[in-house]
Amino acid sequence: MDNREVLVDIKNLRTFFYTEDGVVPAVDGIDLTIHQGEVVGLVGESGCGKSVTALSIMRLIPNPPGKIIGGQIFFHGEDLLKKNEEEIRLIRGDKISMIFQEPMTSLNPVYTIGDQISEAITLHQKIHATEAKKRTIEMLHLVGIPEPEQRFSQYPHEMSGGMRQRVMIAMALSSNPELLISDEATTALDVTIQAQILDLMRGLQKKLGMAILIITHNLAVVAEMADTINIAYAGKIVESASAREVFKSPRHPYTYGLLKSIPKFTEKRTNEPLPAIEGMVPSPYHMPKGCRFNPRCPFATEKCREEEPEILELTPGHLVRCFHPIEP
């Protein structure tokens, strides 16, 4: 794994939102590494900062109220945060593409899907309109849209959610990006459609070899897709390891509790209550002192309430932000 070249290296990223009610530290010191051709999962609950991380990489944080206030995002060794708007625009949609959660609203309703895809192609590849149309139809074919010639001139509202998400993928992959960011791309879809899209993404990843950053709250989705998994909680990464490590020997109490608390559909029914994590995700305006998980953590000590733990490499490739990691 590590012999592959590092594609993206995020160091201590901090993105804050300045709102009427106070400052929201949506991303507060996130570190993340993505190697070339690697599938990386970023998992967490709402408000953990996973989507903001993705938008920070794309430099699409709405400002105001959001602002990247610190850290570096290295892409091929160059800090994206130091680039000007024009330079970042040439990377966006070309080297790094992104697909979003809501396939129903992510496409412009007044242009045909053909227009919208070929727009991206002509922009980054400087080719002729007829050539772009040919390429668009190829892309539609690649993402498994039947009758791509007819579909070219259809409007988004004439398609189902699954089809629109395929269009989004076609658009994102049209310029052969090195990194595809998928922000909850299958969350709004039905299970059987989700299976189709995940299957498609896996197939395309093998074929085209791009790296994928999968952002989701669904542990099962990353278990199936990702090589490496990062667990985020309240704006920080709390655990990072290979997929197998995370699921087989979670070391952070949050990861551990989360995995225990989700029902397994492969197991027979018992009448036992699920081992739930008590309490709730902290309000972004009132982050707890010390470790952010301490109010919900069964192992929390005085130290956890006072001091904030650093992220430590417990075993090679397995990083945990905890004073009292669970012994495997």
């Binding site: 709402s46 299970v191 029902p263 699920l274």
Partner: protein, 324 residues
């Protein structure tokens, strides 16, 4: 022998679509199309299916929140399908519903105490003081501090709001509770709290649940029996373990295989269905699933498959059963 609480027979709910020059009914959305099932006292029947399968409409029509197009809803031996809204009102005490959206299901302009108390007000149960007491007790029961009764919904988190939703639904001691995707809008770490709450309440209060869901892992954990819906029809019904261990209908099989498993070591044989769910306005002839079914045969196009019992309590509607 368990007592039958509710039985639904050939329930149909079509929504007309107006169109044309004179705004006449040009077509219908066949949301629920001749669905039959029953629920015994104290059990949990889960209704699973994808969006557009009609599971939510089934639940709401069963409660008469929507007027059924045709079919019978037999509640404790009495057909309630033809009752008027006024005749239904006293019966509403016995059957309640809890909703998916923790943000949309509570009136943002009402304090939570009023929200929870409203069923008692509407049915004129108890004195003012008794109602107040009941609200406080109920808030504790669902894990909320009674002091918060003057607070407004926007001050609560998603999980807490679902607790308020449960409290409102059970304060008048219903027998039947329709749970319409009660946890799917919640954060993962909160879902298990609500699941546990629902299960504990069911045992304590002897509640009967119709659990509407698309998350099969939760369904397996929660239910006694499961009914699978596809495009307005129930295609398979069985006991929990029977259905998950021996799914028969090709759609059930595909659905089960499509669910991702949170274990990177499990590599499962996956059936990827082709295409999308057809429109319920113009469903395919014969078996509704035939357009995506890997085993489709000529007969599937011509004839609608009948429900056949393949094992005790396990019924399936598929032509593969009658092929030989």
């Amino acid at each position: 022998m368990a007592t039958r609480l509710v039985e639904v027979q050939k329930l149909k709910k079509w929504f007309p679509i107006k169109g044309g020059v004179f705004s006449t009914t040009v077509a219908s959305v066949r949301a629920v199309d001749e669905v039959s099932f029953f629920i015994d006292q104290g059990e949990t029947l889960s209704l699973v299916g994808e969006s557009g399968s009609g599971k939510t409409t089934t639940g709401r029509t069963m409660l008469k929140l929507l007027q059924p197009t045709s079919g019978k809803i037999i509640y404790k031996g009495k057909d309630i399908s033809k009752l008027t809204p006024n005749q239904m009102r006293p019966l509403r005490r016995n059957m309640q519903i809890m909703f998916q959206d923790p943000y949309g299901s509570l009136n943002p302009r009402m304090p939570v105490g009023d929200i929870i108390r409203e069923p008692l007000d509407v049915h004129s149960i108890g004195t003012r003081k008794e109602r107040q007491q009941a609200v406080a007790t109920m808030m504790e029961t669902v894990g909320l501090r009674p002091e918060y009764e003057r607070r407004y919904p926007h001050e609560f988190s998603g999980g807490q709001r679902q607790r308020i939703g449960v409290a409102r639904a059970i304060i008048i001691n219903p027998e039947l509770l329709v749970l319409d995707e009660p946890i799917s809008a919640l954060d993962v770490s909160i879902q298990s709290q609500i699941i546990n709450l629902l299960q504990e309440l069911q045992q304590r209060l002897n509640l009967t649940y119709l659990f509407i869901a698309h998350d099969l892992a939760v369904v397996r954990h929660m239910s006694d029996r499961v009914a699978v819906m596809y495009l307005g029809k129930i295609v398979e019904t069985a006991d929990n373990d029977e259905l998950f261990d021996h799914p028969f209908h090709p759609y059930t099989q595909a659905l089960l295989s499509a669910v991702p498993v949170p274990d990177p070591d499990v590599k499962r044989e996956r059936i990827i269905l082709q295409g999308d769910v057809p429109s319920p306005i113009n469903p395919p002839s014969g078996c509704h699933f035939r357009t995506r079914c890997p085993y489709a045969m000529p007969i599937c196009k011509e004839q609608e498959p009948a429900m056949i019992e393949v094992a005790p309590g396990h019924t399936v509607a598929c032509h593969l059963l009658t092929r030989k």
